[in-house]
């Protein structure tokens, strides 16, 4: 079973995140960049499938040179090798353009299963599995809270608001995972040392046969045209308790449609 896991390096959702005002793209250079949290669940699932069925786990990322940190993390968790697509022309690409790059990179790999997180914490558009499914002509099973591989079929429990749907598709397929699917392992010190020796192949757009003018901010299908920070916290409301404090509090909560 050859499994490819799509990972993305994103600004740490736990620290301050900014857009670069010069072109309204995510300010990656000044951010504390980490592996997208949701991708760790996809990696864990890939490793679990590999441990049960054998095979190889390849990590694929598209991002600047500094994204190697995210790759190392995935390799130190136990993935076998990595492909890193890095090309300055990709900067500012929209999801549609990025999917063309990932699809081209996947086409150069052998895979039975593609796994990815259900969303990235920076863009949060959550459309990558669908875009790749369309481009590669393979089924997508999105939003899995459980994955089972039986022979040539992948079966998932797709998490919904009210419960789950059971969905299945023939392999090769792309599966996106929620954080309910497993508990990602920590890397180990041994894994960190081993990761140094695992192969990481770097590819440019030319290596993938992609015309650089078809990607990047200039030709993106969608762009951020403006942004504003969250308004500062207001003064708040003081409620004086004159024997009717509880009523006033309930009244306030009701006015805010909280109760």
């Amino acid at each position: 079973m050859n499994i490819v896991v799509l990972v993305k390096q994103v600004p740490d959702s736990g620290s301050e995140r900014k857009l670069d005002p010069s072109d309204n793209t995510v300010a990656r250079a000044t951010a504390d960049n980490v592996i997208n949290e949701m991708d760790e669940y996809a990696i864990e699932e890939a490793l679990t499938v590999k441990e049960a069925q054998g095979g190889e786990v390849t990590v694929l990322t598209v991002g600047p040179d500094t994204a190697t940190d995210a790759i190392r993390k995935a390799l130190s968790m136990g993935a076998d090798k990595a492909v890193h697509v890095s090309d300055p022309a990709i900067h500012g690409s929209c999801a549609v353009q990025t999917s063309a790059v990932i699809a081209a990179a996947l086409s150069q790999l052998e895979y039975d299963l593609v796994l990815c997180g259900a969303e990235s914490t920076d863009g949060q558009v959550s459309v990558m599995p669908a875009l790749l499914s369309e481009r590669l002509g393979i089924p997508q099973l999105s939003g899995a809270r459980k994955l089972t591989i039986e022979g040539s079929m992948a079966k998932i429990e797709r998490q919904t608001d009210g419960g789950y749907w059971e969905v299945e598709a023939p392999l090769p397929a792309i599966v996106s995972t929620w954080d309910t699917i497993n508990e990602p392992r920590y890397p180990s010190f041994k894994g960190i040392m081993a990761a140094k020796k695992k192969p990481v192949e770097t590819k440019t757009l030319a290596d993938l046969g992609i015309d650089a003018s078809t990607v990047g901010l200039a030709t993106a299908t969608s762009k951020v045209v403006d942004f504003a920070g969250r308004p500062p916290k207001g003064e708040g409301v003081k409620v004086a308790d004159e024997g009717d404090g509880a009523d006033k509090l309930v009244g306030y909560l009701a006015a805010q449609k909280i109760v």
Binding site: R72, Y186, S188, F189, K190, I192, M193
Partner: protein, 597 residues
């Protein structure tokens, strides 16, 4: 750089890379497999596990002390879970040689890894740290068979280890221990006696516990020269490595402590016949090394443990300081002197100079303590791997000299940082709703265990500064002088001159103390000597840090420089009066009698 209330990753990065240049170690054969990348990755993993697995149950473990049910110790389940993650990540074995399953991580990086856990949860982290010190001692002094039997299970985290020195009647004075070891025909020994204050002495966290026990074997001289060291496992180990009979070492009781409550602290009885391995009472022990040399071997573990205690104190002080800083930036109260209008909103308390004074003091203590601990750990690496023998000897001598300071200075001043952290919190800091009171209680142990403040003082003044004809003190002076020479011509020249003067005075005072002929007089005020020497050493390390910031801009570096100035202007002036007191050969304390109190 991400922020944390446990430790400052930015400060660690500065100390390890910008100051101590630890990446240069990877040029040495022992560390050739490592790189900046692996150092960063292990530290990041340590931070993650400390933050996610250790810090969250720190309070719960404090509020739910270990207790005994049907003879077995009960701990909150989070302790075992966190320690399992710690072991699975390979942290226990990190510094061990490759052939024992280790990663040969440099001591300085390993120490930085440890301090994350100490700062996050000192009670839980004590178990693996004692185990690592135990394993390191065995690697250094036990037979290859003993190493093979006991070290790999400890490295894997399946067994934990202890050090059993103190007895109810003898702690600091090990010459007075009474535990006896009687040789048997098969080469083993049978031990009888009681051991007190044994941390991690009993628990159900691991399938076995390896006690390293000091006891007296027959035929030895009186005093510390008659002490031998024994391996006494809770369960005897069969030849195939599986666990055999229950050994005759049992839990007599748990001590109830002010802090460090997640760590069991025990009174253990050896050889009372509760269990009868091989059909007879007596705890089965196996001699480590030669008879009567036990204390020398144990000091191998204790020196390491003393630096570790200093780092624990630093970690607890550091997290207290960070919590106080966070609180002071958030908590509003009062208005500045320049704007008292009650209609204006109150300001965060960090806007009040006295709060900044407390935070700056805390910063200078905890960052100074961290620099001291990491510098000593870097010396361990030099001692092991420096290119030539002379350099290794120098590192060894300097480390010997600095060990009592590395243990005591953070135990005193990083405890003071926790005290200040409570003060910054005001009344809230005194409540159990905020964590700083626990940090203080936990840290209060550190001036006591692994050799009290007073014992460290005697070690420094009574042994270290006089050993090899005063070579240690001379070396320290030369090392400091090399730094102050670099400061000449910079904005730090005045701090350099101040330190040069203090080093000279310290040397003169040492000569006065030992020149007057009466050791009682020389040593009576040793703790003042320890404190003065400690401040000089940390003042020097602040100069080192300040010089490492030269030519660099930004809040982090400016803050470092301001803390260095604080130490220079507020702390170093305390040393002069201490040295003057020592130089006067004051006997007020020496002459005081019990009846006069």
């Amino acid at each position: 750089m991400r922020s944390s209330l446990v430790l400052s990753p930015r400060d660690l990065e500065f100390l390890l890379h910008e100051w101590l240049q630890v990446e240069t170690l990877t040029k040495r054969e022992r560390y050739a497999e490592h790189s900046r990348e692996t150092f960063d990755a292990v530290l990041e993993l340590a931070e993650q596990i400390a933050t996610e697995q250790f810090a969250p149950h720190n309070r719960k473990a404090d509020e739910n002390e270990p207790h005994v049910v049907d003879g077995k110790v009960v701990l909150i389940p989070e302790v075992a879970a966190a320690l399992r993650v710690f072991a699975e990540a390979g942290m226990t074995a990190a510094a061990l040689p490759e052939e024992l399953g280790g990663l040969q991580l440099p001591a300085v990086v390993n120490q930085a890894v440890h301090v994350w856990f100490q700062a996050a949860n000192i009670g839980t982290s004590a178990y693996p740290f004692l185990t690592m010190a135990n394993a390191n001692l065995l690697v250094a002094h036990a037979t290859p068979e003993q190493v093979q039997t006991y070290v790999p299970p400890m490295a894997e985290g399946r067994w934990f280890g202890t050090m059993a020195l103190s007895e109810p009647q003898a702690g600091s004075s090990l010459a007075d221990i009474t535990t006896r070891a009687v040789p048997q025909d098969d080469g083993s020994y049978r031990l009888t006696g009681n051991k007190m204050w044994i941390s991690a002495g009993d628990h159900e966290l691991t399938e076995n516990i390896v006690h390293l026990v000091l006891a007296k074997a027959p035929g030895g001289p009186a005093g510390v020269k008659g002490i031998s060291l024994f391996i006494v496992p809770k369960f005897l180990v069969r030849e195939d490595g599986s666990l055999g009979e229950r050994n005759d070492v049992v839990l007599a009781g748990l001590n109830h402590k002010m802090g460090y409550r997640g760590t069991t602290n025990t009174l253990l009885n050896f050889g009372e016949g509760v269990h009868t391995p091989g059909g007879q009472p007596g705890a089965v022990g196996f001699l480590v090394g030669e008879q009567h040399r036990g204390l020398t071997y144990m000091f191998h573990m204790m020196n390491e443990a003393r630096i570790g205690v200093g780092m624990g104190a630093t970690g607890l002080g550091y997290t207290g300081y960070l919590h106080a800083l966070d609180y002071a930036r958030d908590r509003t109260q009062g208005r500045p002197l320049t704007g008292k209008d009650p209609a204006t909103p109150p300001v965060p308390i960090i806007e009040h100079p006295d709060v900044r004074r407390m935070l700056l003091a805390g910063k200078s203590y905890v960052e100074g303590g961290l620099a001291l601990g990491l510098y000593c750990a870097r010396l361990v690496d030099e001692e092991r791997t420096a290119e030539d023998e002379a350099e290794r000897q120098r590192a060894h001598l300097l480390l010997e000299m600095l060990t009592p300071i590395a243990k005591s200075w953070p135990s005193q001043w990083c405890l003071a940082a926790d005290d200040l952290a409570i003060q910054v919190h005001g009344g809230y800091g005194y409540t159990r709703d905020y964590p700083v009171e626990q940090f203080y209680r936990d840290n209060r142990l550190n001036p006591i265990h692994e050799g009290t403040h007073g014992v460290q003082a005697l070690d420094l003044l009574g042994r270290k500064v006089v050993m090899s004809g005063g070579a240690g003190l001379s070396l320290l002076g030369e090392t400091i002088a090399a730094t102050t020479a670099r400061a000449a011509g910079t904005q730090w020249a005045d701090l350099g001159e101040q330190l040069d003067g203090l080093v000279q005075q310290l040397g003169a005072v040492t000569a006065t103390l030992w020149g007057q002929g009466d050791p009682q007089v020389a040593l009576a005020n040793a703790s003042v000597y320890l404190e003065a020497a400690g401040h000089v050493v940390v003042g020097w390390l602040w100069l080192e840090q300040a010089l490492a910031t030269e030519g660099r801009d930004g809040d982090f570096y400016t803050g470092k420089r301001q803390a260095a100035r604080y130490f220079q202007h507020w702390e170093l002036p305390k040393v002069g009066p201490q040295l003057a007191l020592l130089a006067s050969l004051d006997t007020t304390v020496l002459e005081m009698r019990s009846d006069w109190f």
